[in-house]
Amino acid sequence: MTAFLRSVCIVGGGTAGWLTAAVLAARHRTADGPTLAITLVESERIGIVGVGEGTWPTMRNTLRKIGVSETAFLRACQASFKQGAKFSRWRTGADDDFYYHPLVLPEGFPALDLAPFWHEAVATGADVPSFSDAVCFQDHLCERHLAPKLMTSPEYGGIANYAYHLDAGRFADFMKAHCIDTLGVRHVVDDVTRVNQAENGDIASVSTVAHGDVSADLFVDCSGFASLLLGQTLGVPFADRSDVLFADRALAVQVPYDDPDAPIASQTNSTAQRHGWIWDIGLRERRGVGYVYSSRHAAGHDPMEDLAAYVGPRIADLPVRELTIRSGHRETFWKRNCVAIGLSAGFLEPLEASAIVLIELSADYVASSFPATRAAMDIVAERFNAMTRYRWDRIVDFLKLHYMLSERTDTGFWIDNRDPATIPQSLRDQLELWKHNPPGEQDFDSSHEMFPAASYQYVLYGMGFRTDPHFMQPALRDRQGAQEAFRRNAQSKSRWGAALPGNRELLTKLQTLDLPRI
């Protein structure tokens, strides 16, 4: 009789461990209970890194599938609504230099592409709004600190597409409680003292201090930067990407609001600095602020000066945490019967909030393609590795795009970022095409794409890149359709700018009221 795989051991808690446990457990259960025995081993002594306070809109579907209420999630994780990112001082470094990467697609996209029409308007020299503001109503909402939904909007549904900002520590606790109380995940609080391999090289079990050996059919390495199973035990090498992405340090600080009723930003604020950039994420009770920089380029300067200038004098009273970033990922992510998810798989600077979404996507693949047998596992692993490597490469490309288009000349950091030798060939190829054609779906043909063509348009044109209009004439045929789309966008700004509540107003209401389920 075929021996089906029935057990999973996740090593490490934190965001990756508990989110993976929840996705797996929610998928592998019937009305009678779990069909997969999931154990999560977590050390009490090793704290969680808690990197990643920004999600993608995918998190809404992930949470829904896991079976948690959005209202409960928002309350427990001090979460707020995120409608994209605002990049300031990335292009020229001037005070008024900013653009948005919103989460709503350009009006009519992809059936209708407004990029050629916007370029045409820009070419006339008229006073044309920024690309994202012209084609999408979300900049308008963000500039006014508005929420993406109404009190009457159902859970996980909204007027504008949205993601979340959250407290990563609280999120891990929230997932933990749901996994243990509702989804039947076994929680072992213990230190892993040894990883035991079978003769064929598979991981047979992990030894713990007080709970003996924990064996399983599949091991998920969520041990963080240590990569205890995949890296240390199975010897999968690390692929360093610091030749493309230079940031290797971060200074993180939690900043309380001066006024408890201060508006909560509806977007992640990313403000370029001399040697990197500062993230600023508004939660309900505090802001999370951090300076990501290249220590090589900042040599001789004190990065604390830049962070202090951003936060203000009160930084003297706030604890600042220093993190080391090793840009890159494992060469492969699933070897033998072990798959790495989270920091054990890799890490890149949090410029486009890629950490948590990669956990979601990886966990979802493992859950949906869970191999029935050991023989099937190698096939699934091979596919997972190809897909995940593709995803990391696309993220590296997209992050580099933000840097390579900058016109800043104030430091070596920005100048070096434009060095063609630091730009992946795949990205250079795309840029060559986009000189004459706007990014479109034809440029992204994988079913595992990370960023849609619209995201590339937002960053590309936000950073001042221009597609030569001469080759785009055929794309200007549907002039009436374009005019209607621009008008719809203006109407959406007017309608929803007046109707949507403030981000803080809605989040405060949700402390006592529940969003309707439908």
Binding site: L150, M151, T152, S153, K509, L513, D514, L515, P516, R517, I518
Partner: protein
């Protein structure tokens, strides 16, 4: 709105014009909240949906009276052309305000156009006692207060059994106009059939079935609107 606690001292001389009161409440209302006890009677005249309160997101049952905001297709100009008049209309211009200490305070809206010295209903009778009219209003408001938690419980029950589904109305009028109404929810007949035996209270069963059956009255709304459009079109032609 300017609510003031009703008192014999301050409001002894007030009169209410009950026709104006009804007009003020009903003439431009296209969606009127209903209480549980009203559902069976109201279902005979109006389509009843569930809508969400804009401030709280909570569902409440409501009769749909028009196909666009501020349109009441049952309003004749002087009366409601229906067998049943909802409590919300009858109580105008009186309201119950919840007190922090518990209980309710009967209030009058001093901005109401129905407060009229020539009005047909007095607050006090000639002897200085509560008039029969105000006695009816007190009883009505007291009943409305008592029914509020029962209405909430009925809605909770419908949500608990997943009986509530979005109801999108796509209507094309005789004149060719497209009317899209969203933000309304209805009782799903299949879901109610599945869970009917899980609902022990016969009153609850009846109330939910009444809401379900009331949806047939959407056709009546459309008929009323078509008739109005026809009349308007004739009038426009005659005047041109």
């Amino acid at each position: 709105m300017n609510l003031e606690p009703l008192s014999r001292t301050h409001h002894a001389a007030l009169h209410i014009d009950t026709a104006k009161a009804l007009a003020e409440a009903a003439s431009e209302t296209h969606l009127v909240p209903l209480l549980k006890g009203e559902l069976r009677k109201a279902a005979a005249s109006y389509p009843i949906f569930l809508a969400k309160h804009p401030d709280t997101g909570r569902f409440y049952p409501a009769a749909l009276l028009g196909l666009r905001p501020q349109e009441n297709l049952y309003w004749t100009g002087t009366a409601l052309d229906a067998a049943y008049v909802p409590c919300r209309f009858l109580r105008q211009p009186f309201f119950t305000v919840e007190l922090a200490s518990g209980g309710g305070q009967l209030c009058i809206d001093r901005d109401s156009v129905a407060i009229d010295a020539a009005g047909d209903a007095a607050i006090l009778d000639a002897g200085g006692s509560d008039s029969a009219y105000i006695g009816q209003m007190v009883a009505l408001l007291s009943d409305m207060t008592a029914q509020a938690p029962q209405t909430v419980a009925l809605v909770d029950l419908a949500l608990r059994f997943d009986l509530v589904v979005p109801a999108r109305l796509d209507i094309v009028l005789d004149a060719g106009d497209q009317v899209d109404i969203d933000g309304l929810y209805a009782i799903d007949d299949q879901a109610l059939a599945r869970h009917l035996t899980d609902i022990p209270d016969f009153d609850d069963q009846l109330a939910l079935m009444a809401m379900l059956l009331s949806l047939e009255n959407v056709a009546d709304l459309v008929r009323r609107r078509n008739a109005l459009d026809r009349a308007a079109s004739l009038w426009t032609r005659a005047g041109s």
